[in-house]
């Protein structure tokens, strides 16, 4: 077990290092920050002063080395635009993003697992077809289109919900729905397939031969096995939710989270903020995957024993 944990940690560190390096050089390839901060009428002398002030006159390798050393000390740098420590900015942003992420994951699980299970059990009736039809729709609509549709109907026409910003619970509804829709749809399909596979297994016949009632056969015997597959898919999905989904949805709903921070930082070449944002997302993805792996072990006794 200890060996397993150590190997896991080592892999995390290596992954992070690769990501940090990639982001560092990619941001620098995209243009010099000073050109965005200073505006158009900047004189050559002023520009040189700014470049020196931000330490951008050193070679990339030297900047990289300085950056790594600062990171090791827990110093993420100072925003080029806002002139505040990145850590302060990030702390304001992490909370809202986490809210959105956790909300979306819970909604996905709460809708997709029961829906997929029902779709498998009632695969030959209209109920199963309805669920799969809805899932197909959710799968096909891009999240930004859905977000705009939601804003149009629920905010502009019906006036039920605020169209953007954070604050109340009402602000929370549309971003979470728009963010989850695709994942609900795909997890419903995965759940259905996993359940169909399990439903044809011999041990379900054994369960029925014991005289168990059908709900117990489905939820105790079948779903517990299907969860193993569902969990591994969920791990990949949350990674997608945390990374790509957040950026689009937070921007549309002006939700002041990490995703929105990333987009504005990228537009303004705010290197330190951008770098931190990417690192934060990557770290979240890695942590989530570790959690899913642990949950996977808890769900499948065969994995649990193999690790110990």
């Amino acid at each position: 077990m200890l060996e397993y944990a150590l190997a896991r940690l080592l892999r995390m560190v290596v992954t992070m290092l690769v990501i940090v390096t990639g982001v560092f050089f990619a941001t620098r390839l995209s243009g010099n920050a000073v050109d965005f901060i200073g505006g158009e009428g900047l004189s050559a002398a002023d520009r040189a002063t700014l470049v020196a002030y931000y330490g951008l006159d050193a070679s990339w390798l030297e900047q990289y080395w300085r950056y790594l050393r600062a990171l090791a000390e827990g110093n993420f740098g100072i925003s080029l635009v806002e002139r505040r420590p990145v850590s302060t900015i990030a702390l304001e942003r992490v909370g809202p993003s986490l809210q959105l992420l956790v909300g979306a994951v819970l909604l996905t699980l709460a809708v997709a697992v029961p829906a997929g299970t029902l779709a498998a059990v009632y695969r030959k009736s209209w109920a199963g077809s309805m669920i799969m039809g809805a899932a197909f729709l959710g799968y096909a609509i891009p999240n930004f289109v859905l977000a705009v549709l939601l804003i149009l109907t629920l905010s502009f026409w019906l006036g039920w919900l605020p169209s953007s910003g954070n604050g109340s619970l009402a602000h929370f509804v549309m971003p979470v729905v728009a963010l989850s829709a695709f994942y609900i749809a795909s997890l419903t399909r995965f759940t259905r397939n996993a359940m169909l596979d399990v439903l044809s297994q011999d041990y379900l016949r054994t369960a029925r031969a014991k005289g168990l009632a059908e709900p117990r056969v489905i939820f105790k015997h079948a779903l517990r096995n299907a969860l193993i597959t569902i969990l591994s898919v969920l791990g990949l999905q949350i990674a997608g939710l945390a990374a790509a989904g957040n950026v689009v949805i937070e921007t549309i709903f002006a939700w002041r989270g990490i995703g929105e921070m990333l987009v504005s930082a990228a537009l303004r070449r705010d290197y330190p903020v951008l770098q931190f944002g990417v690192i934060a997302v990557a770290l979240a993805v890695i942590l989530i995957n570790t959690l899913v792996d642990l949950a996977y072990g808890a769900a499948d006794p065969r994995v649990r024993l193999a690790r110990s």
Partner: protein
């Protein structure tokens, strides 16, 4: 006798499909008395398993339905109920309670994510109206009854931690937990080794005597029937053939089909084939001894790698210091239970797995040192026939390409020439010549095995490694395939390495046998000598465990030395002590 416990009258079962209903059981009638054991026997497609599932009314789940007749069953001392007409809640109260069932596949019949304890206690909770504590205590008692070692620990274990035989004991515990009046056992030992089978059969019999349960025993194995049943119902293609007391059925079968079925059963002690003297060699072989295969000191070990860095922590010793020879026109039977290494030997010879050490000579050429590239031309001399005729034929190839594929590889023959050869091969293995353009799924299991044999024959090999070639087939089909293999041997002088767990089949095929136990040969010699005068304790156990298809020779409760199975997993670098053989007769060697 009073009214029977179960009285089935004119049972009809059909499977629904888009094209209408296909009847699979037609007008079946039989009865089971209290405490009686009735065997339902038949080959695949006879409807015997469908009948069992219909009694449990689980057939609806498989897409079938009871379309006629009655199944009168007395779940308690009151009046009988018609199972065919009960609604689902009433059936649920009977299933696992008054009537329970054990299935064929112990490996897949238990839920992998629930502990053994939960799975046994569950049935008690469902029917007994007792609390969780009490159910757990009762479950432990049942596990003890089915003679599982260390039941306290088993309660907390998961199915994958148990062997097949142990899992089947758990299934029996689940089935008998609520003391059913009727136990339906659907091929409960078919997937198990003979020594494990003997233990399970003994257990079912003992528990039956203890509890007075009636048993319906569904099987295709006449040996098991003779061992277990009071009466026998023979079925064929969904129809009742005959019912008789077991002794009468074996002594004087009435129906033609029953007679044919009994005649086809391979019986131990029927005698091995007469030793065919290898014929005068062809010119190219002049001067050799007719030896086509020689294996010297074969060792095959599989590394076990563990942990994130894939460290090599141990070896599975699959084959350990095996030597054997095979001459033209000769069959060597390799016998052993699962895990004995018999298939690994076959695969090592063809270099389908890499031997660890040892020498393998095919037609006098050492193949062990050769690269995979260099081995390929030699493969034409040694072909293989596999156990599963469904999985071992490529479903996308038409038959004429399929059976001549070795020629396309070794001789690069063009399609028209191959087609001609294919027609000849088909004729030779007894398949219709006009089926050349058909695909494997259009053939039955026995026909597919003929295709596999035709494919192996196409490159005119000297040796065919046949890995359980008839194990998946019904006895009557088994018989025909064995006859074909022997004919081909006489005609072409092919040598077979015949791998099987079935001693009676091995006897019919083999001039010599080698008995394998955990990767080593423990006894080898002329078939008759080894089987009639077994010297090694393992060979004796194996022979004693085989059910005999003769009710007069029914075993008493056998006390098989319950051998603790030693693990074949050893640390890296471990070399087991060398083996020595003593001569028990001409060519008859026994490990000492």
């Amino acid at each position: 006798m009073t009214a029977p416990l179960l009285d089935v009258r004119d049972l009809c079962v059909a499977f629904r499909s888009r094209r209408g209903a296909t009847p699979v059981v037609r007008n079946l009638s039989f009865s089971v008395g209290a405490g009686e054991t009735v065997a339902i026997v038949g080959e695949s497609g006879s409807g015997k398993s469908v009948t069992a599932l219909s009694l449990m009314r689980l057939i609806e789940r498989e897409g079938g339905a009871v379309t006629g007749g009655e199944m009168l069953f007395r779940p308690h001392d009151g009046p009988a109920v018609d199972l065919a007409r009960l609604d689902e809640p009433a059936m649920r109260a009977i299933r696992g309670n008054a009537m329970s069932m054990i299935f064929q596949e112990p490996m897949t019949s238990l839920n992998p994510v629930l502990t053994i304890g939960e799975q046994v206690a569950e049935v008690l909770l469902a029917h007994r109206g007792i609390g969780a504590r009490e159910a757990e205590r009762a479950a432990l008692a049942v596990l003890d009854e089915v003679q599982l070692t260390d039941p306290e620990r088993r309660m907390r274990q998961y199915p994958h931690e148990l062997s097949g035989g142990m899992r089947q004991r758990v299934m029996i515990a689940i089935a008998l937990a609520c003391r059913p009046r009727l136990l339906i056992a659907d091929e409960p030992t078919t997937a198990l080794d003979v020594t494990i089978q003997a233990g399970i059969l003994d257990l079912i019999r003992a528990l039956q005597q203890q509890t007075g349960t009636s048993v319906i025993f569904i099987t295709h194995d006449m040996g098991v029937v003779a061992e277990m049943a009071d009466r026998v119902v023979v079925m064929r293609q969904g129809e009742h053939v005959e019912t008789a007391r077991t002794a009468d059925l074996f002594a004087a079968p009435q129906a033609t089909y029953t007679r044919a079925l009994l005649a086809a059963v391979p019986r131990l002690g029927a005698g091995a084939p007469i030793y065919a003297v290898p014929r005068a060699g062809r010119a190219e072989d002049a001067g050799d001894t007719g030896e086509v295969l020689r294996v010297e000191g074969l060792v095959t070990r599989f590394p076990i790698r563990k942990g994130p860095f894939r460290r090599h922590v141990a070896n599975v010793h699959a084959v350990e210091d095996v030597s054997l020879t095979l001459r033209r026109g000769e069959t060597l039977g390799l016998v052993g239970e699962s895990g004995s290494g018999k298939s690994t030997i076959g695969r090592s010879i063809l270099r389908l797995v890499e031997p660890t050490t040892g020498r393998i000579l095919i037609c006098g050429r050492d193949v062990t040192g050769l690269s995979q590239q260099a081995v390929r031309p030699l493969r034409r001399h040694a072909q293989m026939v596999f156990q599963d005729p469904y999985a071992s034929l490529n479903p996308r190839l038409p038959v004429h390409e399929l059976v001549t594929e070795p020629l396309a590889i070794h001789d690069r023959l063009p399609a028209p020439a191959r087609r001609e050869i294919a027609a000849e091969l088909m004729r030779r293995v007894g398949l219709p010549a006009d089926s050349l353009d058909r695909y494997p799924h259009q053939f039955s299991g026995g026909q597919r095995q003929r295709l596999a044999i035709a494919r192996a024959l196409s490159s005119r090999p000297r040796v065919i490694v046949a890995d359980e070639p008839v194990s998946a087939l019904d006895v009557s089909v088994q018989d025909q395939v064995i006859a074909l293999m022997r004919e081909l041997q006489d005609e072409f002088g092919i040598a077979y390495l015949f791998i099987s767990h079935d001693l009676a089949v091995v006897e019919r095929m083999s001039h010599r046998v080698a008995v394998l136990d955990r990767g080593r040969i423990v006894e080898t010699g002329p078939t008759d000598a080894v089987l009639s005068d077994p010297r090694h304790p393992y060979t004796r156990d194996l022979l004693a465990a085989v059910p005999v298809a003769d009710p007069a020779l029914r075993h008493g409760p056998r006390r098989l030395a319950l051998r603790e199975r030693r693990s074949p997993i050893n640390p890296v670098g471990f070399t087991p002590p060398a083996q020595h053989f003593a001569e028990a007769g001409p060519g008859h060697l026994v490990a000492v």
